[in-house]
């Protein structure tokens, strides 16, 4: 019997594939004869080399063939796309919207081309309509222009005829030998103007665009330190009007009206403070209105200066009274809170203790019988204690005194949010050092604004923003409630607004301002700005 021996190569790895093949066969019949044959792998090598050449040749051939086929087939996809791009480029260059992309396919590119063609069609239609409207508009403008020119010529002819008929019945205001700039006035118009100026108690100034030419009524003339008899328009005076023509160039700078520099500016309304010769401060409200000639050039400006010193004094006085009222209210709140806390709170606590003591001293049977009622009394006392504590807190928030405005506002926001199940957020933009007395005003304004949002607007979200700079503190309260028309709100006959008034008074008593913006259905924004002294 023969048993094949192990076939082993003389080398391993990839190089071993091309190494010699050693074959060992041993006879297993006891003779111990072994046959060994070693053969080379030349045939394998030559075969593999042949294959390698063939494979490379096939790869090159396939690549070339693939390139040719791909080059041909990719045009099916890319040609329509390139056509689309070329058409778009041409449209962009020539603005010719009548160009179209070749269609006829139903794939995605075909749909794209169809949509693009449709879009072009719409653009072209709209463009044509626009041109049509433009032409019509041009025609209309031409017709209207012709009509206007005709009407203007007729009007000018009519005026010329009337002027010819009236002769010298037209005059121009003359001052210091120079012609007054502006539209010539008829005698009647001039008299009307003089009458108007004469019957107004406020200062009325017509200041010409030419510097220094001024027409003024009596009240205005009296404020200037000039001899009024020199400036009086004698012709007007003869007709019963007291009108003055004043040359401001002859006045000292300090004597000029405070609004002379406003000529040609866009300021229409301003308040000025004046110091009279006796060092008495006066306030004026200046209303300015420029007027122009036919060519649209500025001829001059009319100024009406109203003395508002009395109003100012009244406002200051009113503010002082409000401040005192607010102080009194706070003082009253403080004493009331102290009384409630010290007297009622103490009594309630004592009642609680005594009722507990009574309950414990009762015989067991009686206690069992009265237990429900005693529990009710206990709960009632607890409830009353809570209510008193809430009232005390609202009357005089202890957190405001102990921890400052930010902490008190946070507590207020939390309390309102918890009690009314709405979202109340506080955003503090900067760090807040103690601000003294104005903290209480800001807290009350925030408290009133939140209360209004909860009670009247049905808001579900309220946002408080507190920010501060070097000179002032700004408190803004937004809510997303139903809003209202502030115009109708100001009409106190229809709807009293004590809360708003108090907020405004509180802000103004601290030298600040208060504003309210609201639109029906779009919430309310309240802004209080308080000065830091």
């Amino acid at each position: 019997m023969l048993a094949p021996g192990a076939l082993t190569d003389t080398a391993g790895g990839l190089s071993g594939i091309f190494a010699s093949i050693k074959t060992v066969v041993t006879c297993s019949d006891g003779s111990g004869c072994t046959t060994v044959i070693i053969s080379d792998t030349q045939e394998l090598e030559s075969r593999m080399k042949g294959y390698l050449g063939l494979v490379l040749l096939v790869l090159v051939g396939v690549s070339v063939l693939g390139y040719l086929v791909t080059y041909r087939l990719q045009r099916i996809i890319t040609d329509p796309l390139i056509s689309l791009v070329n058409t778009m480029e041409r449209i962009r260059a020539t603005r010719d919207y009548s160009l179209r992309v070749g269609a006829g396919r139903t794939d995605e590119i075909g749909i794209l081309a169809d949509c693009f063609n449709q879009m072009l069609c719409e653009v072209q239609t709209h463009g044509e309509q626009l041109h049509l409207y433009q032409d019509k508009l041009s025609e209309l403008i031409a017709i209207r222009t012709a009509e206007l020119v005709r009407v203007k010529e007729e009007a000018e002819a009519t005026i010329a005829n009337r002027l010819d008929a009236a002769g010298q019945n037209v005059t121009k205001p003359v001052f210091a030998g120079r012609e007054w700039t502006g539209t010539p006035l008829s005698q009647d118009e001039r008299r009307m103007l003089y009458a108007l100026m004469d019957c107004i108690d406020d200062e009325v100034w017509f200041i010409s665009a030419r510097p220094g030419l001024v027409m003024a009524n009596r009240t205005a003339g009296e404020t200037l330190g000039v001899s009024l008899s020199d400036c009086l328009d004698q012709e007007a005076y003869a007709e019963g009007f007291e009108i003055y023509y004043i040359d401001l160039n002859k006045l000292r700078r300090a004597d000029l009206p405070p609004f002379c520099d406003l000529q040609g500016t866009s300021v229409r309304r301003m308040e000025v403070a004046l110091l009279t010769d006796g060092d008495v401060q006066r306030f004026q409200l200046i209303n300015a209105e420029p007027y122009r000639n036919r060519e649209g050039e500025l001829s001059g400006t009319v100024f009406v200066a109203t003395d508002i010193t009395g109003q100012k004094e009244s406002t200051v006085s009113q503010r002082a009274v409000s401040g005192r009222l607010i102080e009194g209210e706070e003082s009253l709140r403080k004493s009331l809170a102290a009384e409630l806390h010290d007297e009622i709170g103490r009594d309630l606590a004592a009642m609680h203790i005594y009722s507990e003591s009574i309950r414990n001293s009762l015989p067991a049977k009686t206690r069992q019988r009265l237990d429900d009622k005693l529990c009710f009394v206990h709960n009632l006392l607890d409830d009353m204690s809570c209510k008193v504590a809430n009232i005390v807190s609202e009357l005089r928030p202890p957190l405001l005194d102990d921890f400052g405005l930010v902490t008190a506002l946070k507590a207020l926001a939390d309390t309102v949010s918890r009690r009314h199940l709405i979202e109340v957020d506080l955003l503090v933009v900067d760090e807040f050092p103690p601000l003294g007395a104005i903290e209480l005003s800001l807290y009350r304004i925030a408290q009133e604004a939140i209360n209004n949002a909860v009670k009247h607007s049905g808001a579900t979200s309220v946002l408080l923003i507190l920010e501060k700079d070097e000179k002032q503190v700004r408190l803004v309260v937004f809510d997303n409630g139903c809003g209202f028309d502030p115009g109708s709100h100001n009409d106190t006959a229809k709807r009293p607004s004590w809360g708003m008034t108090m907020m405004r008074e509180r802000a103004e008593s601290c030298g600040g301002s208060f504003s309210l913006e609201s639109t029906p259905g779009k919430g309310t924004r309240i802004t209080a700005i308080v000065r830091i002294d």
């Binding site: 023969l2 074959t23 111990g32 004869c33 046959t35 060994v36 394998l44 791909t70």
Partner: protein, 125 residues
């Protein structure tokens, strides 16, 4: 140095026609190359296996033929049998070894055969 980001940007900026051709060509060549390599390796291993099987069958035949010569101590017959392997030009050398580890008969062909024999001797110790 090849910058992958730069290459990608360049490729993305190619016209769509060139991009499409590159994608199709690269995919085709990769598939073709992988198929070729697999075929090549498989054929090589298969061919070598056949060669080994062929040599083993040949060795078994030689072993059977020379067994009687060894038993009758007829070295000339054994060498004659081994000389018959000269017909296969890829056989470099062949031996018949008896149980006493003495080389009883051998056949060697050409320079490559001697080299192969030398390597076998070294491997056998």
């Amino acid at each position: 140095m090849l910058n992958p980001v730069g290459l990608k940007t360049r490729f993305l900026n190619y016209p769509i026609r060139r991009k499409l051709m590159l994608i199709v060509l690269v995919t085709s060549v990769m598939v073709m190359g992988m198929t070729t390599v697999i075929f090549y390796v498989e054929d090589m291993l298969s061919f070598r296996g056949h060669e080994v099987e062929h040599r083993r069958a040949l060795a078994e035949m030689v072993c059977r033929d020379t067994m009687s010569a060894i038993l009758s101590n007829n070295r000339a017959h054994a060498e004659e049998t081994l000389q018959s392997l000269a017909g296969d030009p890829h056989i470099q050398s062949a031996w018949v070894v008896c149980s006493t580890a003495a080389k009883y008969s051998r056949h060697t062909s050409g320079t490559r055969g001697r080299g192969g024999c030398q390597r076998w001797k070294q491997a056998a110790g």
